[in-house]
């Protein structure tokens, strides 16, 4: 989600909450006989507030599952997740008195920090990456349909070849296919069709746009004039395939941080629950 003017109200509210919490924390920490601790009344209240903020942020996952229910728009929940989740950081630090505590508390705090930091990094990536995607992959497809798009490109490439060849799949031995007529087919079978697989060989020479351009120029020089248009079509298909590869990478960058953020959130939930039970029980 991009942070725009629509977030202004959330930003202001969150800032006000943090300022209010800070204003309450400073005199409490200065006057508390043993310093700010989690087991004082104020410390407990900060802990409750921080945990409530964390739970609210975590409810986004529930809301995303209940798509058809009317519990506020997902956009609203996402904004809440961002800003209220961010508010939880100072509240939790006020609760702990800026201490990391014992073994369980330390694990919980580091987990919490990892979740916060990964969330901030993810938010930055979500702002920056789409711009790259726009320039790197203007011919992008729907991410979940990438395989379908790639398969379609391969089919289109096959059809392009079949427009000039009777058959496509012939054994191409080394040294053979030197005839101009077979050159394009051999090139297609050895390089292009492999490049159009879903899993691309990272050593493929067509991965680099400049290199591919040079290769296709050479191919065009070595084939009959009637096949040049097909070669141009193949080049266009390869360009699109490269963009889909770039799109895939950028999508993983843009969403890969969730591989840290979400699992650690679950761990954080378990650890927090354990911390609450053990602290209150004892």
């Amino acid at each position: 989600m991009v942070i725009n003017r629509g977030h202004a109200a959330w930003c202001v509210t969150s800032l006000a909450l943090v300022i209010l919490a800070t204003g309450l924390y400073i005199p409490y920490a200065n006057n508390a006989p043993h310093g700010a601790t989690g087991n004082s009344i104020a410390g407990l209240l900060f802990g409750i507030a921080g945990t409530t903020a964390m739970i609210f942020a975590g409810l986004l996952a529930v809301r995303r599952r209940l798509v058809t229910r009317k519990f506020g728009s997902i956009s609203w929940w996402l904004k809440g997740h961002l800003w209220i989740g961010l508010c939880s950081a100072p509240l939790i630090f006020f609760h702990s008195g800026f201490r990391f505590g014992g073994a369980l508390e330390q694990l919980t705090m580091w987990c919490f920090l990892a979740v916060i930091v990964s969330g901030i990094i993810g938010q930055v990536l979500q702002h920056v990456t789409p711009r790259f995607m726009k320039t790197a992959a203007p011919q992008q497809a729907i991410f979940e349909q990438l395989e379908v798009a790639i398969t379609s490109l391969k089919k289109a490439a096959d059809q392009q070849m079949l427009s000039v060849y009777d058959t496509l799949f012939v054994d191409v031995q080394d040294g053979e296919g030197e005839l101009a007529d077979d050159f394009l087919r051999a090139f297609y079978l050895k390089h292009v069709r492999i490049f159009l697989q879903v899993e691309v060989d990272p050593k493929s020479s067509l991965l680099n746009a400049t290199q591919a351009e040079g290769i296709f120029a050479t191919v065009r020089d070595g084939i009959p004039r009637k096949m040049v248009s097909v070669a141009l079509g193949l080049e266009s298909i390869c360009n699109e395939r490269r963009q889909l590869i770039a799109q895939n990478k950028l999508q993983w960058i843009m969403h890969g941080w969730t591989l840290i953020h979400i699992p650690l959130s679950i761990s954080l939930l378990i650890l927090t629950l354990m911390h609450i039970i053990m602290s209150l029980y004892f």
Partner: protein, 501 residues
Amino acid sequence: MVDSRFIRSISQRFDIETARHPNKLRRLRWRVTCSCALLTLLIIFGNLAFSGDAVFQSRPVTFSHARYANDCKQCHDASFQLPRRLLGNTDALFIHSCQQCHEQRMADHHGKPTDSSSIADCASCHSEHRGLTSLTNVSDSQCVTCHSDINAKTEHHQSAFANSVNSIDSHPEITLLKQWVNSQPKHTHGAYQVAKLDGKETGRFIDASNIKFNHAVHLQEDGVLVPPDHPDYGRQLANGLSTTTLDCASCHTPDAIGQGMQPINYEQHCANCHQLSYSTLLANTPLARNKPLPHVDPELINGILRDRLINYRKLQNNPTIKDPNQIDDFGATRNPAKVPLSDDPQSNWNWMESHLPNIQSLLFAGGKTAGQGDLQNGCALCHTFEWHGNTDTSDSGINWSIRASNIPDKWLVHSKFPHDRHAQTSCVECHYTTGTENGDTITAKQSVSGTDILIAPIKKCQSCHTDARNQTPAIARGRCVHCHDYHNDHTSGHKPILGNP
């Protein structure tokens, strides 16, 4: 923007079946999430099973409680203790578990706190789980919770102490040294245990020990006269007298723990020089050259005097004694020329009664006759007596009563002073008074009056001890617990720990 894709047909680029299945990222995220959750549960329950309770502590316990680090129930003996304690449930307070080993109580403090919200239980001041810090290291802010406005916290809102003390820098003058011109300390103040107001306009406290003592005489550099037969001294002068030089440590010796001073008593500190030999004092009485009197009450002295007079009378009347120089058990010699002989007990009693008042007045009324060496003997030299008049018909037959001595073991009743930690300071640096009539400062070595209170004022303490946050430069910190105890056992820092049941 122009669509430059090779395949523009949506139907060729979209497969509804593919949309039903989660993509790779989602599948991977799901697996990582499950693994993370399982790992977390494994860590938690693994620690529960193998590491004990210590893993759940917010911070390590103090070193004194280290043996209970893995047994939270030793102290946390109530379930859901934290919320119940904060809500005021008395069963959840940290009192019962502490008292399994410690005998100190919240009620130890004078002026028991009425505001339970500030001091609810032991943990209100002694906060555990702060690492290796000693639990007795209570912060000043805990004391200031009440002592910033003590009147509001005590019953009837009338404390005997200064209403507001926030640190050593704002500590009021010691009550014993203040001038109480228009007011007086409350009768409950410990100052009255060791001193009394002089009743003058200056409104100062004076020593209430009822003992006359001249420090200057005893500490003079030329020394003091001592009896020649004194066991410790032998610097004999030309005229046959002996002198010795005394210092503070001659009488003021540290107690067993090195912090306070041992109590002053006659037998240990005075008897070697002041031997209560009244032979010279009583030179013109029948008890001349008697053995020393014991250091007892006037009533007992009176009884002893009676016995000695009667025995003297009997000695004089005993015809079997031929040697006129024979002395009785009390040192009296037979001198029949001076004592009229009589076998009549009533006559002997009357004779005794006629001599007794004179001897009493010599002893109790402040005789200054030179005794052995150059000593002045007589009970009134040191003690204060009261005469009850000739109409006294008390059973003891004595018209004199002695004002009980009240030499305090400890002057600062509401605080403690570790002398051993101030060993580098000379005695007179702190033991002086500015309470003289002309306002001069005189040290203990210059004090001539037994009513002088030779205690340093608070500014003397403040010259070295200061609030930690204001140290520029630092010499010593001045925290409340350095001088004051909440649990008012001033003889030791801690009471023995009871056996663990």
